[in-house]
């Protein structure tokens, strides 16, 4: 007989309260984690969306990419050796619209590579977010340090750096604007080849992202919130089941006295815990995904299925641990205790 189910049916209120708490906490966790992910996307989609690989900057730059100047000699030899490698630079700057409106962008220029937009001299490819701000293909844009004009050639999705839309420009234009001959970074796609280059320091993608100080601080605090919530929800589970179990000590004693196995009592608790958690998670996953769809464009929010699944499994695991820890009393309660306690 399914006692777990019968009890939930009879005490709907009690279990609904537990379920709604789990629902609220998990929804909050999903949303914060969606924000963390959205912000990190907004901050560094340009880098994040590159495949895994090695990033190189000069040792003297001391982990600050815009202080790095890779000599042309080194660059040429690396690019010759690795056909898919690319040298690129990122500089924060401004573009002026015809109306005189100024916008902050991240100028990116690179050697020829399928990983970056290809742009000819005098052209610019912009992040899609600028399109919704009213810039159209064929518009001309200017820059205070640039003599000519940029013609908007196209838009690309999800190209952001340091919360600014990326503007891909030709390498020659870049050199003219910033009066510089060297590129800052070299990227070799495809895992960690263990490649070392004299004078350069190698970073994995994550390591490189963490050299961007705003990125690191932002992600650290958001992720801390997420994990705090997860821990809190684990404690909620433990406390809630503990209280329910304390109320049921007498009942457990009686059930043991008539011969119910302890394992049956644990299974009953686990069944209830798993059922409630899955029930609550289903609703909050659904709402999280709805939020993902309807979140206003300006709000950096991105909740991937992978993250959702990972967090959900964590919730289940932590609920299981919390319930089990609080259920140790089930094992300890003796049948006599209940009989002597009087009416349950």
């Amino acid at each position: 007989m399914n006692m777990a189910w019968k009890e939930m049916k009879k005490n709907k209120g009690r279990f609904l309260i537990l379920g709604s708490i789990i629902f609220l906490v998990s929804l909050l966790t999903f949303i914060i984690s969606g924000l963390a992910n959205g912000l990190s996307q907004d901050n560094a989609a340009l880098i994040k969306d590159l495949p895994n690989g090695q990033f190189f900057m000069t040792k003297e730059a001391n982990q600050t990419y815009n202080l790095s100047k890779i000599s042309n000699k080194t660059q040429t030899s690396v690019l010759r050796k690795h056909k898919d490698a690319v040298a690129f630079s990122i500089q924060m700057g401004f573009i002026n619209e015809g109306s005189g409106k100024q916008r902050s962008v991240a100028f990116v220029s690179s050697t020829a590579s399928p990983l970056f937009s290809k742009v000819n001299k005098g052209e610019v490819v912009l992040d899609r977010s600028l399109e919704s701000d009213g810039i159209k293909i064929g518009d001309t844009l200017t820059n205070n340090q640039y003599n000519g004009k940029f013609i908007v050639k196209g838009f690309v999705d999800q190209s952001k750096f340091s919360h600014a839309p990326v503007a891909f420009i030709n390498i020659d234009d870049y050199k003219q604007i910033y009066r510089i001959q060297e590129m800052q970074l070299i990227f070799i796609p495809g895992g960690d080849s263990g490649e070392t280059i004299t004078g350069l320091k190698s970073f994995s993608k994550d390591q490189f992202l963490n050299t961007i100080s705003s990125y690191k601080a932002e992600q650290l605090s958001l992720n801390m919130m997420v994990w705090f919530l997860v821990v809190i929800s684990g404690m909620l589970f433990a406390i809630f089941f503990y209280m329910m179990n304390v109320q049921k000590i007498g009942l457990y004693g009686i059930l043991k006295a008539i011969g119910v196995k302890t394992s049956v009592l644990f299974t009953m608790m686990w069944t209830q815990m798993i059922f409630i958690t899955i029930f609550a998670l289903t609703i909050s996953i659904a709402l999280g995904q709805v939020f993902n769809l309807i979140a206003p464009k300006g709000l950096p929010f991105s909740l991937t299925v992978g993250t959702t699944v990972q967090l959900s499994l964590t919730f289940l695991l932590i609920g299981f641990v919390g319930a089990t820890l609080s259920g140790i009393q089930i094992k300890q309660v003796g049948p006599l205790q209940a009989i002597q306690q009087g009416e349950v």
């Binding site: 007989m1 006692m3 019968k6 009890e7 049916k9 009879k10 005490n11 007498g250 009942l251 009686i254 059930l255 043991k256 006295a257 008539i258 011969g259 119910v260 196995k261 003796g334 049948p335 006599l336 209940a338 009989i339 009087g342 009416e343 349950v344």
Partner: protein, 224 residues
């Protein structure tokens, strides 16, 4: 026929630093189809003896023999199996499971006793017993909606639904008025005869003794 023997059972509790011997060598045997009443002053150790006999707590010394086996020497799981399938209990309070209907309480007991009956047979069996205790009309009721006497009758039904060999009852009528107490006593006596159980029952109530085949009095940790 004797089917249950309590042999020189002793029980000592630690009372702080002091050892307190509550049972000082109890001998008692129970026969099929007979009700044995256990009486004695409060604190004389009646409940202690009953719970030791039922395998709910260990004895300090002595044997409890059921079907030739000494249950004081068994491990917890072995005792649990015997309790689940061969013993029935009625306590002072009904101790029903609050979230199960009357019928479900009995179904649970049949599951626990591992009777391997099909659901249909279970229901038939349950209907029979509920009729016996006069509760068939309340089979879908939850305990909260039953009176004290009704609860106790369900508790008795639960104690015998799996056809135990031994029925233990600790003041089963203590929470009932005298009219209901008599009904419950009659029920216990009749069921004992009908199902050929051996019943050991603790009572405080002199009036209830007329329903017993034997009366055993406890005093100073011994039976007289």
């Amino acid at each position: 026929m004797t089917i249950f023997t309590i042999d020189k059972v002793r029980k000592t509790f630690m009372n702080g630093e002091m050892k307190d011997e509550i049972l000082k060598g109890i001998n008692l045997s129970l026969k099929e189809g007979e009700v044995t009443a256990l009486v004695g002053a409060s604190g004389s150790g009646k409940s202690t003896l009953l719970t030791i006999a039922a395998g709910l707590q260990p004895a300090s010394d002595g044997k409890v023999l059921f079907e030739g086996q000494n249950i004081t020497a068994m491990n917890q799981e072995q005792v649990r199996k015997i309790r689940a399938s061969k013993f029935g209990f009625v306590f002072q309070f009904a101790h029903l499971v609050p979230f199960l209907t009357v019928e479900e309480q009995l179904m649970l007991m049949l599951d626990v006793a591992d009777t391997k009956l099909k659901k249909r047979q279970q229901k038939k069996e349950i209907a029979k017993i509920l009729k016996l205790v006069g509760m068939e009309h309340r089979k879908d009721a939850y305990p909260a909606s039953l009176s004290g006497g009704e609860k106790q009758r369900v508790a008795i039904a639960r104690a015998i639904i799996h056809k135990p060999k031994i029925l233990f009852a600790d003041e089963p009528t203590a929470s009932l008025d005298s009219k209901k107490s008599k009904d419950v006593m009659l029920l216990i006596r009749d069921l004992t005869k009908m199902l050929k159980m051996a019943t050991l029952m603790v009572t405080h109530d002199e009036e209830m003794l007329s329903y017993a085949d034997h009366v055993v009095k406890m005093r100073d940790g011994l039976v007289q």
